[in-house]
């Protein structure tokens, strides 16, 4: 535990560590509740994992649903969320999330002008009790980053194409199925004009909310230790800034919003079972908040879970000096594409939600003592290339040279390294399914989610298409993660629990820095963002009510 310094570099009421969706929301709320706020950000960029995401808040029972005639309720939301949490999360935490998320979203919309629209995106288990085929995933509006003034250059840039437009416009274009529907000259013009979309828009809106409240994040300040008083109450933090200690006093509390620990290899290996995974978040997510909380006796929770996603690493691509992982979406969910393991066999409904699909990379053959679906490949044919986007390669354009290519299925399997006979049998069987529009093996195309992520112009099923037109292609697919989802366990106020009972007074956690209240599951597009913002809201509300000490 760090000793109390002789002098503090800054003194405030609430210190927020991290500037992603959780941290910025916490800062806004704390300020609105009358507290003085300091935000410390370890990098030179604002936005954290939120900025590189789709920027969706997933808000069950939100205020926009009734206006669209969508039926939702607290009861449905609770039923669904408890199903998602699979009995691994205390009911009081699930209830706190469900009760506060819609209040938070309405507040943020009204107070900082962060407009969203109801997307067509179904919940990730839309067919389960309480699940909805539409209404909870809220797509962000675009944002003119010039409104940030000098802070514009501090906004974290997403490493993959984040279309500089509103979600509403993007979704209406059906660009996910056919990117040719977008006007790229207009998008380029938007980009040059400083318009940002999706996660960058969400982060920018929240940053603007902070700036409007006089909160200018302290950049390049990496929190290292929590400082406690003689009774164990957290009263401040020791950070490192420009090579020296930087102490900040917090009279009401410290909120950990430092993101996950997915870029900390030691913590990954220690806590997350299964094959190692490729993080897709900013490499600064190294578990700083987790380590600081552990150092003062925090109870931990959900440490073995991640926000998983089947991913790919395009050779030579880097982000902030680390390998850039690319999330598979259309590559995996559009027709004319499947995933196979080393036996050339399919192993999952490829189109289903990425988080649950990624769990099959952990499947083990106990006798062989091996992960049966590692390594894995995504295989597609020329029909796919003709119609759909492969990462940054638009339909009809030449597939890049790093992708394995062959004129026959057998040659493709041999070149890539999976079993050719098994693969040929798999493709023959799958093609029969595709023609019938049903996948009896894994149910691909049987859910609203699968069909939404497919091609609306493809029949008889939006998610199923044959693999039969040469050339054929294969790319390696690995287990990736948008972030880890374990950390300090909290109560319904966002207060960090002590491993020996009670709470660590003055310490809060939010977002991916905390033990996720989704447990092993993923409710719908934007569950991560919504959890971050909502727990930032809850923690700040509570902290701001504490007497100043």
């Amino acid at each position: 535990m760090a000793k109390k310094p002789k002098t503090w570099d800054m003194e405030t009421d609430i210190v927020v560590l991290g500037s992603g969706g959780a941290g910025l929301t916490a800062a806004i709320i704390a300020a609105d509740e009358g507290s003085k706020v300091v935000v410390l950000e370890k990098t030179d960029k604002i936005g954290g994992a939120t900025a590189v995401s789709g920027g969706f808040p997933w808000i069950p029972n939100n205020h926009l649903e009734p206006k669209k005639g969508i039926s939702d309720s607290r009861e449905d939301a609770l039923t669904y969320m408890k199903f998602i949490a699979d009995g691994q999360v205390d009911d009081e935490l699930v209830e706190a999330f469900i009760d506060n998320a819609p209040v938070m979203m309405k507040y943020i919309e009204e107070k900082i002008g962060f407009k969203t629209v109801i997307s067509e995106m179904p919940d990730y288990h839309d067919g389960k009790p309480g699940g909805k085929v539409k209404g909870r995933s809220l797509g962000p509006d675009s944002f003119d980053s010039n409104r940030l003034g000098e802070w514009k250059k501090r906004l974290r840039q997403a490493p993959v194409v984040m279309f500089p437009t509103s979600w509403e416009e993007y979704e209406k274009s059906n660009a996910k199925a056919d990117p040719r529907n977008l006007d790229y000259v207009k998008l380029a013009t938007n980009m040059m004009a400083g318009i940002v979309g999706m996660g960058m828009s969400t982060a920018a809106h929240l940053l603007k909310g902070c700036l409007d409240r006089g909160i200018e994040p302290v950049m390049g300040a990496r929190a290292m230790e929590l400082i406690q008083d003689g009774r164990g109450r957290v009263i401040g933090v020791r950070a490192e800034k420009e090579g020296r200690d930087f102490y900040v006093r917090a009279s009401q509390g410290v909120i950990l919003a430092t993101g996950g620990f997915e870029w900390n290899e030691e913590l990954r290996k220690k806590f997350v079972p299964g094959p190692d995974f490729l993080p897709l978040s900013p490499p600064s997510n190294e578990g700083d908040g987790l380590k600081m909380a552990m150092a003062i006796g925090a109870e931990l929770g959900n440490m073995h879970q991640i926000w998983g996603v089947p991913s790919c690493q395009v050779p030579g691509e880097e982000y902030d000096g680390k390998p850039l992982g690319r999330m598979t979406m259309g590559e995996r969910t559009m027709p004319h594409s499947i995933m196979v393991n080393r036996k050339g066999k399919r192993f999952v409904d490829e189109s289903f939600n990425y988080s649950d699909v990624a769990k099959v990379f952990c499947d083990v053959n106990p006798v062989a003592y091996e992960h049966v679906n590692v390594p894995a490949w995504m295989v597609f044919d020329q029909q796919f290339n003709d119609k759909y986007m492969l990462f940054t390669t638009p339909p009809g354009e030449a597939i890049q040279s790093w992708v394995t290519r062959a004129d026959t299925l057998e040659e493709l399997a041999n070149k890539a390294g999976f079993d050719a006979e098994g693969f040929k049998a798999t493709v023959k069987r799958f093609n029969d399914f595709a023609r019938q529009g049903k996948d009896p093996d894994f149910g691909r195309g049987s859910t609203a989610y699968d069909r939404y992520q497919g091609d609306p112009n493809n029949s008889p099923n939006e998610a199923l298409g044959t693999i039969e037109k040469a050339p054929f292609y294969a790319i390696p697919i690995v287990r990736g993660a948008l972030g880890s989802k374990g950390g300090p366990a909290t109560n319904a106020n966002g207060q960090v629990k002590h491993v020996m009972g009670g709470v660590i007074k003055g310490l809060y956690a939010a977002g991916n820095a905390m033990a996720s209240t989704s447990g092993p599951g993923y409710g719908g597009a934007g569950n991560t963002i919504a959890a971050g913002m909502t727990w930032g809201y809850i923690a700040a509300k509570h902290a701001a009510k504490q007497p100043r000490k």
């Binding site: 490493p159 013009t189 030579g316 040279s401």
Partner: protein, 149 residues
Amino acid sequence: MPDVTHVKTVKAPIAATWDFCKDMNNWVRYLKGYEKHEEKSKTDSVWWIKGDVGIMSKTVSFEVHINEWIDNDRVTFSMKGISESMNGKGALRLVADGDNTTLTFYLEIKAGGLIGPMVNAVLGPVLKPIAEDFANKLVDRIEEIQASK
């Protein structure tokens, strides 16, 4: 189309400057992000350049063809992306200025395909510092050689 021109004075006579510039092997390594190159023939080579466009970095390979050498005047080349839908061209032009030489470096890179307009929007702002960095290093090296004579 993103392009940039950078002009620099070399404190060396044109003959010495040309002696250095005429051979691509002498200067390709001064391109920012240079990783390696392979000479296929007197006029053709493959370059691997790690580009950092502000949002991410990526190694891009190009087939490069030398279009012309004109003694004590210019070397021009064209670039065709292997790993990306990206093409370009460049030139080193020399003009005698007494005992010095005026060196002009021109570079143009254009992303093609559907999303080309967006890539070009990102590329535009990064070309200028690349050209400046290249020309500065090139001139420093030529002057270093000249000084050692």
